[in-house]
C-alpha cells in the first residue's frame, strides 16, 4: 500500500515535470516546425504538427533578402556595446571599491546606477533622440552602441563592483610595495582574479544587447542598418502572411544566444539574475 502510493506520487511528479517542459518547448518547436513549411501549408487553418513537405525555402529566401547584413549589425552592436560596458564598468568599479571619492560620490553613483536600472527606457528615448540627432548619432550603429550602455553599463557595474568588493586587498598591496604602478596592479593582478566573473558578466550583457528592441527601433531607420529584433518586428507588421520566413529569422536570432543558457543557469546564485531585461 505504502509503495503503491509512492509510485503514484512519483508518476504525478514526472507528469508535472513533462508538462512544464512541454509548455516551454512547444512554442520553440512551433518556430522550427513553421520555418520548414511551405507558404501554403503555413496558412492552412488545420495546423500540421510536422511539415508535410519539409523545405528550406524560407531560410533561402531570408538570406537572399539580406539577412546576413542584419545579423552582422546585431553582432557588431552587441559585441561592441558589451566590450565598452565591461571596460568602463571594470575601471569604474575598481575605483569605487578601492578609493573614497569626496561628497559620498561612491554611494551616490551606485544608487544612481540602480535608479537607471529601474527606469522605463522610453522615458529617456525622447530627449536622447534630440541629442543624438544633433551630434549625428541617429541612424548609425555607433549611436546604438552608445544607447545600449543605458542597459549594459549599470548592469555590468553593479555585478563587477560586487566581485571587486569581496576581493582581498593583500595581493594589490604586495604588488604596490614591490613598486608596481596602479595601472599595472589593475591589469596584471586584479583583472586575472576576477576573470571568470567578467566573462559571465559579458555574456549577460551580450544577451541584453542582442535582444534590445526599443532604441534599435527608434534610433535606426535605414533597412540596411537594422538589427535582428527590429527586422522581426517589421516582418510581423508588414508581411503578416510570411510566417515561415518570420520563424526562420526568429530561429536564426535565437540560436546564437541559447548556447549561453548553461552559463545563465550556473551563475544564477551569484546575483547575476538581478536583471536579464
Amino acid at each position: 500500500m505504502y509503495r503503491l502510493r509512492k509510485i503514484l506520487k512519483r508518476t504525478v511528479f514526472i507528469l508535472l515535470v513533462i508538462f512544464v517542459v512541454a509548455i516551454i518547448l512547444i512554442p520553440i518547436y512551433w518556430m522550427v516546425n513553421t520555418s520548414l513549411k511551405t507558404p501554403r501549408e503555413v496558412i492552412d487553418p488545420i495546423p500540421s504538427f510536422f511539415p508535410r513537405t519539409p523545405t528550406l525555402a524560407n531560410y533561402k529566401a531570408v538570406f537572399k533578402s539580406g539577412l546576413w547584413k542584419n545579423f552582422s549589425n546585431s553582432v557588431i552592436v552587441a559585441v561592441s556595446a558589451t566590450l565598452a560596458s565591461i571596460i568602463l564598468a571594470f575601471l569604474s568599479s575598481y575605483a569605487l571599491a578601492r578609493y573614497r571619492f569626496p561628497f559620498h560620490l561612491n554611494r551616490l553613483f551606485l544608487i544612481w546606477v540602480l535608479v537607471v536600472r529601474i527606469l522605463p527606457p522610453i522615458v529617456l528615448a525622447v530627449p536622447l533622440f534630440t541629442i543624438f540627432n544633433r551630434i549625428g548619432l541617429i541612424n548609425t550603429l555607433g549611436g546604438l552602441i552608445v544607447a545600449f550602455q543605458i542597459y549594459t553599463l549599470p548592469y555590468s557595474i553593479w555585478i563587477i563592483y560586487g566581485f571587486l568588493k569581496t576581493l582581498p586587498k593583500e595581493y594589490e598591496e604586495a604588488a604596490r610595495i614591490d613598486g608596481a604602478s596602479p595601472l599595472r596592479v589593475l591589469v596584471s593582478i586584479v583583472a586575472p582574479l576576477v576573470r571568470s566573473g567578467i566573462i559571465a558578466t559579458s555574456i549577460f550583457a551580450l544577451i541584453l544587447a542582442w535582444n534590445e528592441f526599443l532604441f534599435a527601433l527608434l534610433f535606426v531607420r535605414s533597412p540596411r542598418l537594422l538589427t535582428l529584433p527590429v527586422v522581426i518586428a517589421r516582418y510581423i507588421g508588414e508581411y503578416t502572411t510570411q510566417w515561415g520566413e518570420l520563424m526562420a529569422i526568429g530561429l536564426f536570432a535565437s540560436l546564437p544566444i541559447l548556447i549561453f543558457s548553461n552559463v545563465v543557469y550556473k551563475k544564477q546564485t551569484e546575483g547575476f539574475s538581478m536583471s536579464l531585461k
Binding site: 512551433w30 537607471v116 535582428l228 536579464l276
Partner: protein, 292 residues
C-alpha cells in the same frame, strides 16, 4: 616626492572613474533633467516652437481618457503578470526541489524563454493567437467552441499579452527562488521532518518564510519590468483594439515619436517616473522593513 606620489595615486582613480561617470550622466541625468524642463512647455518638433505653459501638459494629459486607459492597463498588466509569474515561479522551484533524472536538462530548457528575444517570442505567439490559422482557435473549433479574437477582442487582448509575459518571465522568478532555496541548509528540513512536520506544513511554515526576501525581490524586479511594457504591445497589438492595450510607455512613444509632441511626451514621462518611484519606494521599504 611622497606627496607627488600620493597625488599621482589619487589622479589614477579619478581617471578610471571618470569615463563611466560621464557616460552615465550623459545618457541618464541629462535626459532626465530635459524631461522635467520640457514638461512645462508646449514643445513640438513639427512646428519647432517652445512656449511655456506651466502645468497645462500635466492637467490635460491626466484628464484624457486615453491616458487614464493607459494607466489602468499598465497597472492591470503589472499586477496580474508579476504576481502570476512569482506564484508560478515559486511553484516551479518547489517542483524542481526534488532530484530526478534529467533535472539539469529540464532546468536549462525551462530558462530558454528568458534568453530568447522578446520579438522572436511575440512572432511565435502571434501565430498561436492568429484568428484563422492559430493553434488556439484550432483547438477551440475542434471542441466545437466559438473561436476567440485573442488579439482583436477588446476584452481579451490585454490578457493575451499577459500570457506571453508569463511564459517568458516565469522562468526568471523560478531561477531566483530556486537559488534562494538552494541556500537553505538541509538541517532545517531534516529537523522539521524529525519533529513530524508534513510536506505542506514545511513548505508553508518554513520554506516560504525563509524565502520571503527572495520572493519580494523577484516581485519587485518583475513589477518594475512589467510597468515599462512596450515591446509586446508594439509587436502584438499596436495598442489596439480600440486602445484596449495602450500602456504608459506606448503613450509616451506615440506622443514623442508619432506626433512629435515632446512637451506632452515629457509630461507623460514625468508622471510615469513618479509611478516608478512610488513602486520602488514601496518595495525598498518592505525589503528593509523585514531586516529590523
Amino acid at each position: 616626492m611622497r606627496n607627488r606620489e600620493r597625488a599621482h595615486y589619487n589622479s589614477f582613480f579619478y581617471l578610471i572613474f571618470a569615463p563611466a561617470l560621464l557616460v552615465t550622466l550623459f545618457l541618464t541625468a541629462y535626459p532626465m533633467a530635459t524631461i522635467f524642463y520640457d514638461s512645462f512647455f508646449r514643445y513640438s518638433l513639427v512646428s519647432n516652437t517652445r512656449t511655456f505653459v506651466g502645468f497645462q501638459n500635466f492637467s490635460r494629459i491626466l484628464r484624457e481618457e486615453l491616458f487614464q486607459r493607459s494607466l489602468v492597463n499598465t497597472l492591470v498588466f503589472t499586477l496580474v503578470a508579476s504576481i502570476t509569474e512569482v506564484v508560478l515561479g515559486t511553484a516551479l522551484a518547489f517542483l524542481f526541489k526534488r532530484e530526478f533524472r534529467g533535472k539539469r536538462v529540464a532546468s536549462l530548457i525551462v530558462i530558454f524563454p528568458m534568453i530568447i528575444s522578446t520579438m522572436v517570442i511575440c512572432a511565435v505567439w502571434q501565430t498561436f493567437y492568429h484568428y484563422e490559422i492559430g493553434i488556439f482557435n484550432y483547438i477551440l473549433r475542434k471542441w466545437n467552441l466559438a473561436p476567440v479574437g485573442w488579439l482583436t477582442d477588446q476584452r481579451v487582448a490585454l490578457f493575451s499579452i499577459i500570457l506571453v509575459d508569463i511564459w517568458q518571465w516565469t522562468p526568471f522568478a523560478f531561477l531566483i527562488i530556486q537559488a534562494g532555496m538552494g541556500s537553505i541548509p538541509a538541517e532545517i528540513w531534516e529537523a522539521a521532518q524529525i519533529d513530524g512536520a508534513r510536506g505542506g506544513q514545511i513548505a508553508m511554515k518554513i520554506t516560504l518564510p525563509i524565502l520571503r526576501s527572495q520572493i519580494l525581490m523577484v516581485l519587485m524586479l518583475r513589477t518594475l519590468d512589467t510597468f515599462r511594457l512596450f515591446d509586446k504591445v508594439y509587436a502584438l497589438t499596436g495598442g489596439g483594439p480600440a486602445n484596449a492595450t495602450q500602456t504608459l510607455s506606448f503613450f509616451i512613444y506615440r506622443e514623442g515619436f508619432k506626433f512629435f509632441n515632446f512637451g506632452r511626451a515629457s509630461a507623460a514621462s514625468v508622471i510615469t517616473l513618479f509611478g516608478v518611484a512610488f513602486l520602488a519606494l514601496f518595495y525598498v521599504r518592505s525589503l528593509l522593513g523585514e531586516e529590523d
